[in-house]
């Protein structure tokens, strides 16, 4: 089971991402999607979810996507979660910052269902590579401090 947190202030976009992911037969694991309508919502949900992937928008009120990425990467519990940015192509700088902060992939809106699925698979693969590498080097293992979190 792959658990995905979708952080996006547009409900239509959330519904779309959910529809594409939940109905997909291409991904190896069954997928469970949880929605967050804001950065704060995401922070509320993160400690309870044992997520494998966070898909986030950049331009959101209050806590923007960049801050969320920084929070995820800076957090002991969440730092190994894969992060996929979905945002419009327009602001090149925001995109570069997101990747610099440790996002795994950037997907420009608008995107097709196929592109989303490919990006999700790629982000997950990138992260699991990371983790293997990390654990091989004696680093952190995903969710190691509290293994029961990932049920």
């Amino acid at each position: 089971m792959t658990r995905i947190l979708v952080v996006e202030d547009s409900s239509a976009m959330r519904s779309y991402v959910r529809a594409v992911l939940e109905d997909s037969t291409d991904l190896a694991d069954p997928i469970e999607v949880v929605d967050a309508a804001s950065g704060f919502d995401a922070m509320r949900l993160l400690p309870r979810g044992a997520y494998d992937l966070v898909i986030t928008d950049i331009n959101m009120p209050d806590i923007n996507g960049l801050e969320l990425i920084k929070f995820v990467r800076g957090s002991e519990h969440h730092r190994d979660i894969a992060v996929l940015i979905i945002s419009t192509q327009a602001s090149e700088r925001d995109r570069a910052r997101g990747l610099a902060l440790g996002a795994d992939l950037f997907l420009a809106k608008p995107f097709t269902p196929e592109a989303l699925l490919a990006a999700v698979a790629a982000s997950l693969a990138a992260r699991s590579g990371h983790t293997q590498h990390d654990s091989g080097g004696g680093g952190h293992e995903r969710g190691a401090p509290n293994g029961e979190e990932r049920r």
């Binding site: 519904s15 779309y16 923007n64 419009t88 602001s91 979190e149």
Partner: protein, 796 residues
């Protein structure tokens, strides 16, 4: 997959609609602030974000025009919010037009059409032209900002940070801890408190927190206020405040390197009291790397703590329709139950059982009423939704027409059925255009006649019984009746001779005829091919009435009266021959006994005189081609009639000679929302009145028995739409019932004269008369030659 995506698509439409409405409101606020010269950067950013969201979703759902428009608009707004372009009145015009265009595009997308939208390309060109902004005024590099701080700022936040620094504001870090469960409210409060002191640039979660239930935030704020002021304002909310010292790059000194002090208020106070100083780096880089042990606790079991953020849900109105239909079916079950109870009581079988059942059935009935009421309430939305849009249009049109107009809106909280609000938007929009384009005079013209230079349009809404009244009143030049007459003669609607005899009211009503206009030239504003005739048709479709008053030189007032809901109506059930019909009570004024002796024929029309005025009659049996020999005996003790008559008559002092009066009766007494209103079928005062009416009629029948005995008596149901009345001649009055109207099937939907069909229970069907259409048709003189629909088809 398709189903999920369809749902997402539905979501897209409603979200886009919401965003576009929000955009309209924000633009109005922006317009205000631009005039007063104080533009709130947050507002521009909100607008940008809305457009940004639209662009994203429009692209996903293949709404290409919306996506293209958003793209251009986003560029323009980005320049505005990043200070690369200035918010000028001409830019505002483009923005207003864009929001209008969004509305139209959304409509086209919803209907799945691919119609060309003429102004689309034009506006896109304009947008592209106005997008060419200059370079950002605050070129980066002047200030040495901590890179780790910059790393999490979006482009916009960075811009705001630079702008504030450039203007000499001081940066503060507010550290605050929130409970995750209540963060939304707490944060809103903090925003409100902080707003007067400056601008919040961003919120950074520090990654630290006392436990899993709370979160610590660093809030970056720019302010002109000394730290003491901020402190006294914000400390009560548990905020720790720290000043972030400015670090100006040594080689470029556009400002003094010491904190700038153009005014005493800006003199910096003593360095921050908190020890954790260290400039921006302390702010931005410390928390995540902070080695201070965070208490790691395995999360507790997921006990109902993931609360929903929003307190509202969006519901597809068709779902409510389905619910309403179910309630309608249940009401039928309830009525049937009631009949069984009656029968049971009549047989005296088991009194206790019967009265228990009776009580249960009553309770069922009441709960059903509350449910119906509840669903109706859910469908209600404030008229403000449309009024907001109108306010925008007024601004836009008055700009384009170069007229000064002040729109005064009252009663925007008045609630109406969602479907009605939707359908109202176009007609109201059109009338607004008319008022500005044809009504309000040019400034010079107004001043010449001693009117204030700024014209006023009053948009007023209020509830009146089961109706909502919307008035649009302008203080313009009024409608030129001479021109209307000329136009009517030109179109062959009246002859020159007839024109001399028509009343002013009738003349004004010419406005509602197709092709009649007082304007010789068609304006680009109002002349979009929709006339007042279309407005009237649209309003009539909603069961509404439109009325016009106008005084030359003083102004015009349009009054629209609408039912509150379309889902369910109170109807007077009547019998004609062997058929049942429902007449919407909204159109019923009174019911009287028909005395054939008093019927006269004037101009080939049958009329009676009712309290001094002439009432045209319409014999429905004849109109529908029903066989009068099928007429039921009126006083059959087994029919619905007798049951209606058996109803208790708690109210005495019943006024009027054999008639009840709708305004008092249904307006105040049966008022929606009071005493159960629409939903309270059995208790509704309106219904009692009809019962009483039936009784009164029958009483008078007994009194008059000597005069006309042989023929079964007939009744006149006096109906009215606006100022026009028509007496419908029917055989029997059965009683009032709240009915759920079901549309006639596709093959019958073009049949005029019927608004739909309804089930009365007991598997009896009734056609619902479309009273406005009937009245219109009869007054147009088509009485005799009507290609009658055969209502018998719908029975059985």
């Amino acid at each position: 997959m398709a189903e999920n995506l369809d749902r997402a698509r539905e979501e897209f439409f409603s979200e886009a609609q919401e965003i576009i409405e929000g955009l309209g409101r924000d633009l109005l606020a922006l317009d205000e602030s631009q005039r007063s010269g104080r533009v709130d950067p947050d507002l521009i950013n909100d607008i940008f974000r809305a457009v940004h969201t639209l662009k994203g979703v429009a692209g996903i759902f293949g709404a290409n025009r919306m996506s293209a428009l958003s793209h251009e608009l986003e560029n323009l707004l980005d320049n505005l919010r990043l200070g690369r372009a200035e918010l000028s009145p001409s830019v505002l015009v483009v923005l207003f037009r864009s929001v209008e265009l969004y509305g139209r595009i959304l409509q086209v997308e919803k209907e799945g059409r691919d119609n060309p939208i003429p102004e689309f390309d034009d506006l896109l060109r304009q947008l592209a032209a106005s997008t060419r902004g200059g370079p950002s005024p605050s070129s980066p590099g002047q200030y040495e900002l901590d890179p780790s701080l910059l790393a999490v700022l979006t482009e916009y936040e960075e811009h705001r940070l630079r702008t504030n620094i450039a203007q000499g504001l001081t940066l503060y870090r507010l550290r605050v801890q929130f409970q995750l469960a209540t963060i939304d409210n707490a944060l809103d409060e903090l925003k409100v408190t902080a707003k007067p002191y400056g601008e919040i640039i961003t919120y950074l979660p520090t990654g630290a927190g006392a436990d899993a239930e709370s979160i610590e935030l660093d809030i970056l704020m720019a302010s002109r206020s000394p730290i003491a002021d901020l402190s006294s304002a914000l400390s009560p909310s548990g905020v720790e405040i720290e000043e972030i010292p400015r670090r100006v790059a040594p080689e470029t000194t556009p400002r003094p390197s010491t904190p700038p002090a153009p005014s005493p208020a800006e003199i910096h106070h003593a360095p921050p009291t908190t020890s954790a100083s260290g400039g921006m780096s302390a702010l931005a880089s410390s928390p995540p790397q902070d080695p201070s042990p965070i208490k790691v606790e395995p999360p507790k079991a997921e006990i109902g703590t993931i609360k929903s953020v929003a307190q509202t849900v969006r519901v597809d109105i068709h779902k409510l329709d389905r619910l309403m239909n179910i309630v309608g079916e249940l009401a039928i079950v309830c009525t049937s139950l009631g009949r069984i109870v009656e029968d049971l009581r009549a047989t005296r079988a088991d009194r206790e059982l019967a009265s228990n059942l009776h009580r249960l059935q009553r309770m069922f009935d009441r709960q059903l009423d509350s449910m119906q009421q509840g669903i109706l309430e859910v469908r209600m939305v404030p008229l403000g939704q449309v009024f907001d849009r109108l306010a925008r249009v007024v601004r836009q049109i008055s700009r384009e027409a170069d007229k000064m107009v002040n729109l005064v809106i009252t009663g925007s909280e008045t609630e109406v059925d969602k479907l009605i609000v939707e359908e109202l938007s176009d007609p109201l929009m059109h009338m607004m255009r008319n008022a500005i384009d044809h009504g309000i005079e040019r400034r010079e013209e107004r001043q010449a006649v001693g009117k204030p230079a700024v014209g006023t349009i009053a948009l007023n809404a209020y509830q009146k019984g089961n109706h909502v009244v919307i008035e649009i009143q302008d203080d313009g030049r009024g409608i030129a009746t001479e021109r209307l007459i000329e136009a009517a003669i030109r179109r062959g609607i009246v002859t020159a001779d007839e024109a001399r005899l028509v009343s002013k009211r009738e003349i004004l009503n010419f406005v509602f005829l197709p092709g009649v206009t007082t304007k010789a030239e068609v304006s680009s504003l109002s002349g979009r091919g929709v006339g007042m005739d279309v407005v009237k048709t649209n309003i009539s479709k909603l069961g509404g009435v439109i009325d016009l008053q106008s005084e030359s030189g003083i102004g015009t007032k349009v009054t629209i009266t609408l039912p509150i809901t379309l889902a369910i109506i109170s109807a007077l059930i009547v019998r004609i021959a062997d058929r049942l019909f429902a007449i919407p009570l909204a159109n019923v004024q009174e019911a009287i006994v028909l005395d054939e002796m008093t019927v006269r024929v004037i101009d080939g029309r049958e009329v009676v005189t009712l309290r001094g005025s002439t009432l045209q009659l319409c014999y429905l049996a004849r109109l529908f081609g029903l066989n009068p020999s099928m007429r039921m005996p009126n006083v059959s003790p087994s029919g619905g009639v007798s049951r209606a008559l058996d109803a208790p008559n708690p109210r005495g002092g019943y006024g009027g000679p054999g008639g009840y009066n709708a305004p008092g009766g249904y307006g105040a007494g049966g008022g929606y929302g009071s005493s159960g209103g629409i939903g309270a079928m059995p208790q509704s005062p309106g219904r009692d009145m009809v019962r009483k009416e039936a009784r009164t009629v029958f009483d008078s029948r007994r009194q008059n028995q000597s005069m006309r005995i042989s023929l079964a008596r007939q009744y006149i149901v006096v109906t009215a739409v606006g100022s026009q009345r028509l007496g419908l001649v029917v055989d029997t009055l059965i009683g009032e019932q709240d009915v759920v109207i079901k549309a006639l099937g596709a093959s019958l939907k073009d049949v005029r004269g019927f608004a739909g069909a309804t089930e009365l229970g007991d598997q009896r069907l009734a056609l619902v008369l479309d009273t406005p259409a009937l009245i219109e048709e009869m007054h147009a003189g088509a009485d005799r030659a009507r290609p009658a629909a055969d209502p018998r088809g719908a029975h059985g």
